[in-house]
């Protein structure tokens, strides 16, 4: 690996290019977003735009799936194409959309602000991590056009299925996922180093905004689990290319070992996708409810508990793989335990909202909907952890419904919430509230219409990943497809909003939400190196409002911090 050279650490600190005045340095034009920029804000937005492009692609693939499933027979695409589409949909959405955006985009943009640094610990490694993603994505998509087509074995690539489907597409899939895994690991190393080592002097760990803790936990999971997936996929590629028999039962291999190694990454991957969303929602809710984040310390403990437990629950994906009883028992208990820290976070968000002065704008609507969706996905998750129930619904649409309630109803809702919340910081302009609410309504209704019926379908035994189904499932599937159509339509107001508002949106000012977290205590968009002059020391990022019966409690407003800071 290439470690950054000494100049990476010192150059941004020593040079101070912005001498033009207090609000100085404006962006140097959009071309830098196509360059190998070392600025964490540019890299963050590169992740964001790139991720959204892949989101639209993955959404189109989902549209193909729901169109096919609108009727019980296989009539829209061929069965092979259906398999390719569902594999690409899963891979694109997980590895090219959610993981890069909720970690890479927001992490890179916000973490240096939150720790009071001028950039990430390893700016060059950071740029490398981003620039691994577009080639990996293009490689993955290109496999659709080669002889034999793209991988058909789902995002899990279970052998022996992945050994019997066309080899070339599967190998390209592996290479692509390895590149994306590498990108993820480099990003994780960078976040850990930045959060632990680059904090502004005087800023304590327990004073950091919650997103820092979430990203620290996430990055630890990335660093510990992603390499295991990489190693596993290398062994799988040996099986495909060199005809070894690691996972091939016909050659004396063992498929269950693949499943263990795969889920050792891919269960923590769920937390890699959702923990940062927990962090982001913990930033968004206090600002728009004008209340301190409830139970900061318990939030931190919960994240640590989720990280630790998240590493020892993977085999609950394998209850039907001949898992021995003691293993089932252990993994059921460990999985059920995760509900405790997750529940603590859930009630802390509710308590933060409680008696707050809530502004129900688009960001807050998405954040509140996240809480609702996530608790529903969490309940079905605890249900799935119970062996007897899991055996009944294993590999059915119940799992599909549960999973999408977590990653779409959970993480994607928060990504949208975060875009509405931080867009003024990214661009200096506000997003349109009317379009934002329209976007929210369409997304919320479409999402629930699409995925709630899938729980019924699964309980009644409709298997996932199959292009055809029993005609008795038709009505609910059509409801689900209508929901998917609504979700597709819902992206239109969003797209129009982000494009039009960038040009003629209302000018936001530095701190439109009167927030206290450090990224709002600089200009919008922020200058290179984040602050003119010294970084503000924010020790109470959630010091909103004062209870009327405790007027002695000193409340610091963003305005005061700004005024104290600027001479």
């Amino acid at each position: 690996m290439t470690l950054a050279s000494p100049s990476d650490f010192q150059a941004p600190q020593q040079s101070s290019p912005n001498q033009e005045g207090p609000r100085g340095l404006q962006p140097e034009g959009w071309l830098r977003y196509l360059s190998f920029s070392l600025d964490h804000k540019v890299i963050g937005l590169q992740y964001m735009v790139c991720g959204f492009l892949f989101y639209f692609l993955g959404g189109a693939l989902a549209g193909v799936i729901r169109t096919e499933l609108a009727s019980p027979i296989s009539d829209f695409v061929s069965r092979e194409t259906y398999n390719e589409v569902l594999t690409l949909h899963g891979t694109v959405m997980i590895f090219l959309w959610i993981v890069p955006v909720v970690n890479g985009a927001f992490g890179n943009y916000l973490i240096p602000f939150y720790v009071g640094a001028r950039d990430m610990a390893f700016p060059r490694l950071n740029a490398v991590a981003f620039w691994l993603i577009p080639p990996a994505g293009i490689l993955l998509i290109s496999s659709y056009f080669i002889k034999g087509g793209a991988a058909q074995s789902g995002w899990t690539a279970y052998p022996p299925l992945s050994l019997t489907t066309p080899a070339l597409g599967q190998v390209i899939w592996i290479i692509s996922v390895l590149l994306l895994g590498g990108s993820s690991i480099f990003g994780g190393i960078n976040f850990i180093a930045t959060i632990l080592k680059l904090r502004r002097p005087g800023l304590k760990m327990m004073q950091l905004p919650m997103y820092c803790w979430a990203m620290l936990g996430t990055s630890i999971l990335v660093v510990l689990s992603t390499p295991v997936l990489a190693g596993t996929l290398i062994l799988l590629s040996f099986d495909i290319i060199a005809h070894t028999g690691f996972f091939n039962p016909a050659l004396g291999g063992n498929v269950v070992v693949y499943q263990h190694l795969f889920w050792f990454y891919s269960h923590p991957a769920v937390y890699i996708m959702v923990l940062p969303a927990f962090g982001l929602v913990s930033e968004i809710i206090p600002i728009h409810a004008r209340k301190p984040l409830f139970g900061y310390t318990t939030m931190v403990y919960s994240i640590i508990a989720i990280v630790v437990l998240g590493l020892v629950v993977w085999a609950h994906h394998m209850f039907t793989s001949g898992t021995p009883p003691w293993m089932r028992l252990f993994f059921t208990i460990a999985t059920s335990f995760i509900a405790v820290p997750t529940g603590i976070k859930f009630f802390n968000w509710l308590a933060t909202l409680w008696q707050g002065k809530i502004a129900l704008n688009s960001a807050m609507l998405f954040a509140c909907a996240f809480i609702v969706n996530f608790v529903f996905g969490g309940i079905t998750g605890v249900a799935l952890a119970q062996v007897p129930f899991d055996i009944h619904v294993h590999d059915t649409y119940f799992v599909v419904g549960h999973f999408h309630y977590i990653v779409y109803g959970g993480t994607v809702f928060i990504i949208f919430s975060a875009v509405y919340h931080w867009y003024p910081k990214f661009t200096g302009r506000m997003l349109d509230e009317h379009l934002g609410r329209l976007h929210f309504m369409l997304t919320f209704i479409g999402f629930n219409l699409c995925f709630a019926p899938q729980h019924w379908l699964g309980l009644n035994g409709m298997p996932r990943r199959v292009a055809e189904y029993d005609p008795s499932f038709t009505t609910l599937n059509q409801v689900s497809s209508v929901g998917a159509l609504l979700m597709a339509v819902s992206t239109l107001p969003f797209l129009i909003n982000v494009v039009v508002s960038a040009i003629r949106g209302e000018v936001a000012g530095d701190n439109p939400w009167n927030a206290l977290t450090p990224e709002w205590l600089t200009s919008s968009p922020p200058p290179v190196e984040n602050w003119i002059g010294e970084a503000p020391l924010v020790t109470h990022p959630y010091g909103y409002g004062a209870p009327t019966d405790r007027l002695d409690l000193q409340v610091v407003t963003a305005e005061q911090i700004w005024n104290d800071r600027t001479p």
Binding site: R118, G188, L196, K197, V228, G231, I234, T297
Partner: protein, 211 residues
């Protein structure tokens, strides 16, 4: 608010320890901050170690639950690998001597020890090659053979990269090079990496040859 942010207990203690650790910056001077490159490398090595951990777990599970077919060959000679182990352990010490030499300003001694370390690494790789050519099984013969080649091969790749790093450092430690007593990062990083590869070999030797 204060009561919400100031936690008590173990995590809070760890967090406050981390705070002290993070304050090596030197007062309010933002002209430069702590050099975190070795920390970053160590984090990367944790990740790399997890790749090996995955391989080891796979190997041990295969061993426990997948009996090899009868009359399949999986016997390993112990002499050459043990000699190789010795070479690799020795090379960790020689690398350490090189590092000490650099910090003491003894350039020629440092470079001599580096050369010896590289030679030991090459000797290890050569020994590995000899073993490969004399083994009675090939990559696809049976599960043990495949795992054996995958594990030793992946480790050998690490040794090869290490040797290349040492040669680059050997070049950079010449008197007009970039690595010197005041800027020893390259050498320290390679040394950390080399010790890591050495440690991995000891585990590998233990479970593959001795177990």
């Amino acid at each position: 608010m204060t009561s919400l942010t100031s936690g008590t207990g173990d995590i809070a203690q760890i967090a406050s320890d981390l705070d002290t650790a993070g304050h090596g910056h030197g007062g309010d001077d933002h002209g430069g901050h702590v050099d975190v490159r070795l920390f970053g490398l160590a984090t990367f090595l944790v990740a790399d170690g997890m790749t090996f951990a995955g391989f080891f777990a796979a190997y041990l599970t295969f061993r426990a639950v997948n009996p090899l077919p009868e009359n399949s060959s999986y016997e390993l000679e112990l002499l050459l690998p043990s000699l190789n182990t010795l070479l690799l352990v020795l090379s960790s010490f020689t690398f350490h001597r090189a590092g000490r030499g650099l910090l003491r300003g003894e350039g020629p001694a440092c470079r001599r020890w580096l050369a010896i370390t590289a030679a030991l690494g090459v000797a290890f790789l050569a020994g590995q090659m000899v073993e490969y050519f004399h083994l009675p099984f090939g990559l696809t013969d049976n599960l043990f053979a495949s795992t054996f080649y995958a594990l030793t091969g992946f480790h050998g790749l690490h040794v090869t990269l290490g040797v290349i790093c040492i040669l680059i450092i050997w070049w950079q430690t010449r008197s007009e090079g970039r690595i010197k007593a005041s800027a020893p990062f390259g050498l320290e990083a390679a040394e950390l990496y080399w010790h890591f590869v050495d440690g991995i070999w000891l585990v590998l030797y233990g479970i593959l040859y001795l177990l």
